[in-house]
Symmetry: C2
């Protein structure tokens, strides 16, 4: 049996905040939790259908100006499943960092080229930090019972990015040292 489907829980979780269309879920993911979660339409839409068959969600078709919209709500069964998942221990995740893999085999190319990669990584995380600040500003006015938890995950992202920046600087120095045995 392959790995368990986690996307269903991200959708159930979002629906626990209130009814939403698949489109809105995707947008919300892209705007607010993209730094630790992604999903694609090609996965979301079929999955919502499947989950409706399983009785985890229900949809109410809305026709606004000749256009069909499917707004989903979480059912009691769905909420139970969400909570059960939340209480289950976190399954070990397989990390795969293409970036670190490249650094690991860095000896195949020049030290300068690896250095450039590190600079690129630094730029990525500077950009991320900028976007974290944006999210924080958006949060500033929000009042929601989940807000404390949202700030926790945001904080996680910030800390990790800052740690990565520090590593980038250290590594840049390390790689510029002569031969560095």
């Amino acid at each position: 049996m392959a790995k368990q489907n986690k996307t269903r829980y991200s959708l159930l979780g979002l629906l626990s905040f209130g009814p939403m269309t698949g489109y809105e879920m995707k947008k919300l993911i892209d705007r607010s939790i993209y730094y630790f979660w992604t999903d694609s339409y090609g996965h979301i839409y079929p999955l919502l259908k499947k989950m409706e068959k399983e009785g985890l969600v229900v949809s109410r078709g809305e026709i606004t100006g000749g256009h069909q919209k499917n707004r989903f709500s979480i059912t009691e069964k769905g909420r139970r499943e969400l909570k059960a998942w939340l209480r289950n221990p976190v399954e070990p995740e397989s990390v795969r960092s293409e970036f670190l893999l490249k650094v690991f085999f860095g000896n195949q190319i020049s030290r300068k080229e690896v250095g450039d990669m590190v600079v690129g990584e630094k730029a990525k995380h500077l950009e991320l930090l900028r976007r974290y600040d944006e999210i924080e500003k958006e949060f500033a006015g929000v009042r929601h019972e989940s807000k404390q938890f949202w700030l926790c995950t945001l904080n996680y992202g910030k800390r990790l990015s800052k740690a990565t920046l520090a590593w980038c600087d250290e590594t840049t120095k390390e790689l510029s040292r002569k031969s560095g045995k």
Copy 2:
């Protein structure tokens, strides 16, 4: 077209250090780069065959005591492909952290339960740090032209785990505060 296969490069990279069997590659991955890369036999063996057809690796069958072993070497073409990949920009990776997803939806369960999750995460990273030290000790005696790069990735792991520990402590405090609006 779906995402490009990265496992092939991990295998080519390992073979750039010297000839190896599929079994040895898997063991090496599990022992030395497991903290940022994983692979399974069910993927490695078929892929090596495919890569041999593509001329990236060659195998020499060895029969040691009636048992068949396939020792692979990287070809010139394989080395070119490895370098080309190393020089390509790192493709954006889709991060998916089940742990953070659970924290994000933490409001569905009790604050104490989320706190326990955080404690569990802390334990994981303490264990990781312990294992990083082990790897470092193993490295102590090694002389290899790639060693500097290996230490860089190791350092990355350490820094990230330390940052995670700091986040865990901060979050534990934050969650134990009364209501914490």
